[in-house]
Symmetry: C2
Subunit: 394 residues, 2 copies
Amino acid sequence: MSQHPEEGESSVNDETRAIEEVINAFMYYGKFGTEKILKTIQQMKLFSSSIDMISFFRNYPQDFQILVVNKNKEFVESMKQRIEHNHSILKMIANSASGMIGENHTKAFRIHQARRPTGEFLSKVLSTIRQICREWSSEGLPEREATFKPIIEELNSIFPTETERHNIRILVPGCGLGRLAHDLIEQGYTVQGNEFSYFMLFTSFFILNCCKEVDTFFEKPRVNFLFQVDQFTIYPYLFDKSNCWKSEDRLRGVTFPDKTLISSVTNRPNSFSMCAGDFLEIVKDTQFDAIVTAWFIDTANDIFKYIDAIYDALPENGIWINVGPLTWHFEDIAGEMSIELPYSDIMLRIRQKGFEIVSEKEIDSKYTVNRLSMLQNQFNCAYFYARKGGQKPQ
Amino acid sequence: MSQHPEEGESSVNDETRAIEEVINAFMYYGKFGTEKILKTIQQMKLFSSSIDMISFFRNYPQDFQILVVNKNKEFVESMKQRIEHNHSILKMIANSASGMIGENHTKAFRIHQARRPTGEFLSKVLSTIRQICREWSSEGLPEREATFKPIIEELNSIFPTETERHNIRILVPGCGLGRLAHDLIEQGYTVQGNEFSYFMLFTSFFILNCCKEVDTFFEKPRVNFLFQVDQFTIYPYLFDKSNCWKSEDRLRGVTFPDKTLISSVTNRPNSFSMCAGDFLEIVKDTQFDAIVTAWFIDTANDIFKYIDAIYDALPENGIWINVGPLTWHFEDIAGEMSIELPYSDIMLRIRQKGFEIVSEKEIDSKYTVNRLSMLQNQFNCAYFYARKGGQKPQ
């Protein structure tokens, strides 16, 4: 467990503390990066002292010695610049969250005490950066085409008339940085995104809304600010030391967003809302025409509860589209309940619950992969389209 | 750190302790498996108590209720049997090691006190089982074809006359369970395998030699015992709860060895030796005609030392063939030196050292993958064939 900051006032509640922990993790990135660089330099020194540098370099022509030394200096300098740059982006994200959580944000900053976050939280900061690439850069296009596109196409074939789609309410649980939700809005649907992680919520808020929130989150407010395509750059691969073909691969930047955001277009008949919190809580007493679970169902402690909640939140003939692997998030996590069922048992339960499986297929997709790495994690995802009640689809 | 057993006698040295730790890990497998099953049962109970079982099952026809209950019972029973079976194989491996390390084995068993191994050691037992599949079952054929076959073909095209190959001495560092070394023997070369891990050494000894060691390691000695193709079965996927399509996938067995072992053929002109220990130590003052590093160079604390050692152990025009990714084993391991260079910097150093790169390519390969899992780790491996001294190959 990470240490809690001192309680500043009696009104500091658990949520404020949770927010402060996330903000602390975002804000620590610069220092984390510096630690990483220092470690590399120390290792190089360890290496230098472990051998006789003079005899080592005797093998090289003098030009080469200068090249190696300069190349390393240049590389470290490039790393530093990019770490600072990433840090400034993460700071913007942490600051912009005020537009989303208001008073809690102010309180969190008031009690904030800079400290080293847990390894888990640091790794969440790094994966947030990777998630920006996956969802909002052209680098992530192959991953989005693999699993988001089939969902959108399926829905569009069910609802072919675009002008009527604003009546179709779709829920996207675990929507991450909101790209799938956003692209469904673009197709005309009325969409509610749902997300539990503040790392994702703050970052999606920054990407989706900051153009409307110009006065609050920039240190120097800019009027009429609008996101432009590829306006921002982020460096997601700086610390990918293993499985690297060449140093330059680690330095490359990725621009985002890769398209003009729909939030900059006003007067649409359909609406977009984002709901923070636990999926099982937010679906209570709410109805949707379709629920789209992409890379989501394996976040369940108890998959049966997810199935029940989805069933309850759909009307007769309501649509459930799912895609993703089953990398159970709570497997082997101490103190957490976790039912790691195989796909076939889940489908058995889904059918028994009262869904008809209209179609089922397998889709291969990567997830937040560095395409230049020697390691490429590939998922063989389960995709299905189901209807509540087993009536034939319209 | 795992606890050390009490010192039984003054002659118990570090090596005996190290061996005892590995034997303890092998011997703990059965208990580890039982722990895993108990956890699953507890989780199912937690699940049962968290909902009203009667209303839960009301949704199901009675036949189905019986099916579910029986199916689970049957599954747990199948798991238990297979865990016991794996345990008996691992016990055979631990026992057979006496033929390899003699007195140290006896001492290790004398001081042995059964206890829970570290997580790292338990995970090494599980990966040893996966390694058996990779190297010695037909399940591992695609992985061996991907990276072992190109090496063998390269060598055979350099040394086309099989009857002369016994004069060619090849070193295979980090040879794991010895399959690549074995297959090179089969082609007629004289081969020395080298391995540091006792998990690998004990298991390769069992596979490669136990047919010659029948009197010492079986509890009931069997005379004239010889390994037959597919004689043994092992269950490598029992604990793959995530990314599983159906329960039966976890239960499936893999048979080994997938071929008649060359060690059962006598009177060959070429010889096979296996050398336990640190690669950097064992290559000192030894010469080989070729060194084959497959999935090995990223085990280095200091890759420069590996390059120097390979250079020193080869004659002018000597051959170095390498294949594998760069998943640096000591990255982020506290207290360990680690230089995580990208491939291009390694190649720069190799050329500077005095190798000519004859050919270079990329090879895609998986590594100890469960082919029925939703997760398929794919490596984009670097392959090169180099010659010491930069003379054109013959």
